[in-house]
């Protein structure tokens, strides 16, 4: 009977009740949406590299090294000499290395020169290896393996030929036009910057730069590549390299050794640590977003309290009737709280449904556009504590009209 009365009472005020419910829906949607994206972005971010113990580059800032080597953002200040690389790679504590050579691009996507080890040792997420959706890793010097987004957005298929540009602009005027590359493989989506990268062999990088000096193609220098020039294809330098160790215990020893390397100034970072540092930099932004969504929620809950408070005037007769037939003041307080509960829970459930729908609908778009992978199932994990807090907040704020109706019920007399 109590529930029936509550529903009938709300239905009687359906105009304002529905608007209030929608306000709650919007605010819960914003709050959970922000949380959802935050969690997923953090997870996605933390998952960019896995299983790599050290990243080594020319001496620069930790974050800068991480940005250009892993996120393909910004530029290396300097290169690493091939000899230095070989020396460190031959250290007994080193199990494997992945050399990286950056500096060229293709229609806005960066080109990375590396070795076949990249496809076996580079891991992301929870120790997941790279997988080819189609084709095979590069084997010839003019083979290229595309990240999933590159292939998707530029519409490349296996065996397509493409020309790489010198430098990083999307409309570079210096094209390596005489050394076209052929697509031999397309990687499966990873949700990491790998998706936006074109992978070629270090030999390919060297080969296309033959006859170039300081970023300019020498006039009259044609491309004279034949079997005899293979010797030249060992690069003089690389941009950075990733290191896998035989034992984690060697991590700090090797890091110190690299950081104090005599022949040239080098820097070794632990990718996990630097990723965490980098994420810290986004904390202000993140907190601003959370604060905003919390304030939106507060506004909607205040709206709920205002709606209930405004209803008290028209409820005065109901209070008189209910008191006369034996309702205690607590009953009326409970009635207000129950109405607040129904509106809040209703609004929250609607928001959850909307959010699931939106994430499902936008999942592909987000993955393709900004490589943000959203699992719609994740809402059910992150939402409950928030929903509990929201409901508790609504209950607390509904005490304002609730206590007022309690008092008026206490003072109520029989006659109306």
């Amino acid at each position: 009977m109590f529930f029936r009365l509550t529903l009938a009472s709300l239905w009687n005020r359906r105009g304002s009740a529905v608007l209030t419910l929608l306000a709650v829906t919007v605010s819960v949607f914003v709050l959970l949406g922000v949380e959802q994206i935050r969690h997923q972005a953090r997870a996605s971010f933390g998952n960019t590299v896995s299983g790599i113990d050290l990243i080594v580059g020319a001496r620069t800032g930790d974050i800068n090294l991480l940005l250009y080597s892993v996120f393909r953002l910004g530029n290396a200040t300097n290169n690493i000499n091939w000899q230095s690389y070989r020396e460190i790679a031959d250290d007994p504590g080193v199990a494997w290395t992945i050399p990286i050579s950056l500096g060229d691009s293709h229609r806005g996507y960066r080109v990375m020169g590396t070795t076949g080890d990249y496809f076996t040792h580079f891991h992301y997420g929870q120790d997941r290896p790279l997988q080819l959706a189609k084709g095979a890793p590069f084997s010839d010097r003019f083979d290229v393996v595309l990240g999933s987004e590159v292939a998707h957005s530029l519409g490349y298929q296996l065996k397509d030929k493409l020309v790489l540009a010198h430098g990083l602009g999307s409309t570079s005027f210096s094209q390596h036009a005489d050394t076209p590359f052929q697509v031999t493989g397309i990687l499966a989506p990873t949700g990491t910057p790998v998706d936006q990268t074109l992978h070629v062999s270090l030999q390919g990088i060297e080969a296309m730069h033959i006859g170039w000096r300081d970023g300019v193609k020498l006039p009259g220098a044609s491309h004279r590549l034949n079997e005899n020039t293979r010797q030249e294809l060992t690069p003089e330098s690389i941009t950075a390299f990733m290191v896998g160790l035989t034992s984690k215990l060697n991590t700090f020893r090797l890091q110190r050794q690299i950081n104090t390397y005599r022949a040239e100034p080098l820097l070794a970072i632990l990718p996990g640590v630097t990723l965490a540092e980098l994420w810290q930099m986004t904390a202000i932004m993140e907190n601003a977003l959370r604060l905003t969504s919390a304030l939106v929620l507060l506004a909607s809950l205040l709206g709920l309290a205002a709606m209930l408070l405004a209803s008290l005037r028209e409820r005065q007769r109901e209070v008189a009737v209910l008191r006369a037939i034996g309702a205690s003041p607590w009953f009326l307080l409970a009635l207000i709280e129950a109405e607040a509960l129904i509106i809040t829970v209703g609004g929250s459930l609607l928001a959850l449904a909307l959010l699931s729908l939106c994430t499902t609908l936008s999942a592909d778009g987000l993955a393709a556009q900004i490589s943000l992978f959203i699992e719609s199932a994740a809402i059910t994990r992150t939402a409950p504590p928030y929903l509990l807090a929201i409901v508790a907040g609504a209950m607390a704020i509904a005490l304002v009209p609730g206590i007022r109706i309690y008092r008026s019920a206490l003072a109520q007399q029989l006659t109306y």
Binding site: I325, G326, T415, Y416
Partner: protein, 222 residues
């Protein structure tokens, strides 16, 4: 005795003079009493005291042998739901609930099981058409609402029914019909009735007629 009052004194907070000072008064089971008096003389206050909505400053009110002032607020609410029916001047019903649900709500507070069948029977005997049973009470005429209020007040078979000017919102024809139905129902249920009104034309239908001024020694009486 359904109700007995001894040495009752009552004043509202913020006033010096007691509004009510009733040395002795009682009501027998099934008795129907017409209580009249000018407005502001404390008729409604007396009803509130009898219903346990207000407590006396001094003196005692016993209803069905129970001393009202010894009960907690919560117990008084339960007590009222079970043993006392109330009919106001108007606005007796929750406007968005149907007559049936209004009555079931009263029965819910009286702690009774589902009373739908008895509610229907009561409404029928009060001349409410079946089609109105499930309509929101606000759609009923005032006369119909007042009759539903009788059914609502009687659903828990109370020993005492308090009616505070229940006919003042009705026209003459409706008033007489209403009073007849009310007296008939309370007689049928053997419920004692305190009928408060200033309309002395109605007094002739009652066996016992009292003026509050005769009971009440407050207000600088003589």
């Amino acid at each position: 005795m359904i109700a007995s009052i001894n040495n009752l004194r009552f004043h509202y907070a913020g006033t010096d003079e007691p509004l009510l000072d009733i040395p002795r008064w009682s009501l027998a089971g099934g008795e129907q009493i017409f209580l009249h008096g000018h407005s502001g003389t404390g008729k409604s206050t007396l009803l509130n005291l009898l219903a346990g909505m207000l407590l006396p400053d001094t003196g005692t009110i016993d209803i069905l042998g129970k001393r009202i002032s010894t009960l907690s607020a919560r117990q008084r609410d339960k007590w009222r739901a079970r043993h006392i029916g109330v009919v106001f001047q108007q606005f007796n019903l929750i406007p968005y609930l149907s007559p049936i649900d209004n009555i079931r709500l009263a029965s819910h507070f009286g702690g009774k099981a589902d009373a739908t069948a008895r509610a229907q029977q009561l409404l029928g005997s009060l001349g409410i058409q079946t089609v109105l049973f499930q309509r929101p009470a606000a759609q009923l005429s005032i006369g119909q609402q007042q009759r539903v209020a009788i059914a609502r007040a009687l659903i828990n078979r109370p020993e005492l029914l308090l009616a505070d000017e229940p006919t003042s919102a009705l026209d003459r024809t409706n008033r007489d019909a209403f009073l007849s139905l009310l007296l008939e129902q309370v007689a049928h249920n053997h419920t004692a009735l305190i009928f408060v009104s200033h309309d002395l034309n109605l007094a002739k239908r009652f066996s016992r007629v009292e003026a509050l001024a005769d009971l009440n020694h407050a207000g600088g009486r003589h």
